[in-house]
Amino acid sequence: MASSGSGYDLSPTTFSPDGRIFQVEYASKAVSSSGTSVGIKCADGVVMVTEKLLGNKMLVGGSGRRVHGVDRHMGCCVTGLLSDGRQLVSRSRSESSNYEETYGIKGPPGVICERIAGFAHYFTMHGALRPFGATVMVAGFDEDTKEYSLHMIEPSGVSYRYYGCSAGKGRQGAKTELEKLDLETITCEEGLKQAVKIICQMRDEGKDKPMEIEAGWVRDGKWERVKDGKVSEIEKICKEELEEEEEDMEEDE
């Protein structure tokens, strides 16, 4: 995307002659230079996995979280500018608890996501504000219909419900890999492994900095962060599998 805004990109309150709002598009660019995130809606829950690029060796692992809980039945994963994402997470937490206080039931994920999307959208049409440079994936459980759902809210303020979604640097490749999975029957355990594998595949070992993988899932009606130990175990297994597959491919050639 190498088009120059040439004067129409100074504020989100200005359309370009071809009908684009450049500031919102630039916000999406901020997201696509961040580590890859993958979300999969499985048969028995929803899994979200994200890759966190570690700035330097002094960082204590596990800090600077990208995966956050929103409520007992809902969690989210931030891609893009972490601090922008934190605002969105904070807003979703208050929306969710206000909903429960008013209506007495846990907010259906779809409804809460629409509210967050509306909040994000507000920042795309006011002169003194800029759009959020973060995409939020939301995994949740609807206590009335007993359905799991995966949603993604983009900087422009659109929110869709997905079977599988990806964001960040390797999202195109991740999307292709996701389409190969059988999403009707895949379990959360298997989905977690596949998602980690996809993230490992999208990395370019030579170029990319050291990274840490974070994951969270909604199963049995509850949101839970996947323990860091379990994630690194799976990461190791995936790397080994990928190496084997590479060797097999080389042999075939």
Binding site: T102, Y103, G104, I105, P108, V111, E114, D144, T145
Partner: protein, 232 residues
């Protein structure tokens, strides 16, 4: 459980019922839905019933009023206490419930309706004199009934009664109510119980209005005052 509080001295001599909406705080001249109200869930739906007397002191302002208000297509609420307060409450809840339906893209549930009602009752407990019973059918729980007495507590119940006349039929409903009753039996029970209350409570009388809500729809009926199952 019903915990009997000390007899509160009625300020107008209107009713001596324990802890009923009429014996607390109605302003002079204010209309009271003296009342017997009742709602019972059964397998497949809910039966709501009420008497029809509205009084100011000893004058019966309306002898055929409708105390069963509609909150949404399949959710109703029986009103007792101050007529003005309960009408305002049902208007508010109807409004918020409709907004909830639009935001959620699904039909209202009884739990949400009852929670909205309870919230308003509790937050305004100092200024309200209203005891309501919310009952209806939704496709998550089927038929369910929530009793929301004075003060704003919300209790899901298998057989809820309220209003000044209800105190006279606690024993009767305990004896007659069994789990697993069908639509016909439940409707009969409701009619009988309300007749008994109307026979003893000065603030209840007139006709019996009933409302049966199931997944197939709503049926409203009334029994004229000279055809009551029990009574003088």
């Amino acid at each position: 459980f019903f915990i009997m509080t000390a007899l509160s001295i009625s300020n107008q001599g209107m009713s001596y019922a324990f802890n009923s909406p009429e014996s607390t705080r109605l302003k002079p001249g204010e209309l009271s839905t003296g009342t017997t109200i009742m709602a019972v869930p059964f397998k497949g739906g809910v039966v709501l019933g009420a008497d029809s007397r509205v009084s100011t002191g000893t004058y019966i302002a309306n002898r055929t009023s409708d105390k069963i208000a509609q909150l949404s297509e399949k959710i109703f609420c029986c009103r007792s206490g101050s007529a003005a307060d309960t009408q305002a409450l049902t208007d508010y809840v109807r409004f918020y419930l409709q907004q909830w339906e639009v935001e959620s893209s699904r039909p209202a549930t009884v739990k949400v309706a009852a929670h909205l009602m309870r919230k308003i009752c509790y937050q305004n407990k100092d200024n309200l004199s209203a005891g309501v019973i919310v009952g209806g059918w939704d496709d998550i729980e089927g038929g369910s009934v929530y009793n929301i007495p004075l003060g704003g507590t919300m209790i899901k119940m298998d057989c809820a009664i309220g209003g000044s006349g209800s105190t006279y039929i606690y024993g009767l409903t305990d004896a007659l109510h069994k789990g697993g009753m069908g639509e016909g039996d439940t409707l009969d029970m409701v009619k009988r119980c309300i007749s008994h209350a109307m026979a003893r409570d000065g603030s209840s009388g007139g006709i019996i209005r009933t409302c049966v809500v199931t997944k197939d729809g709503v049926k409203r009926e009334y029994i004229p005052g000279n055809a009551l199952p029990y009574g003088p």
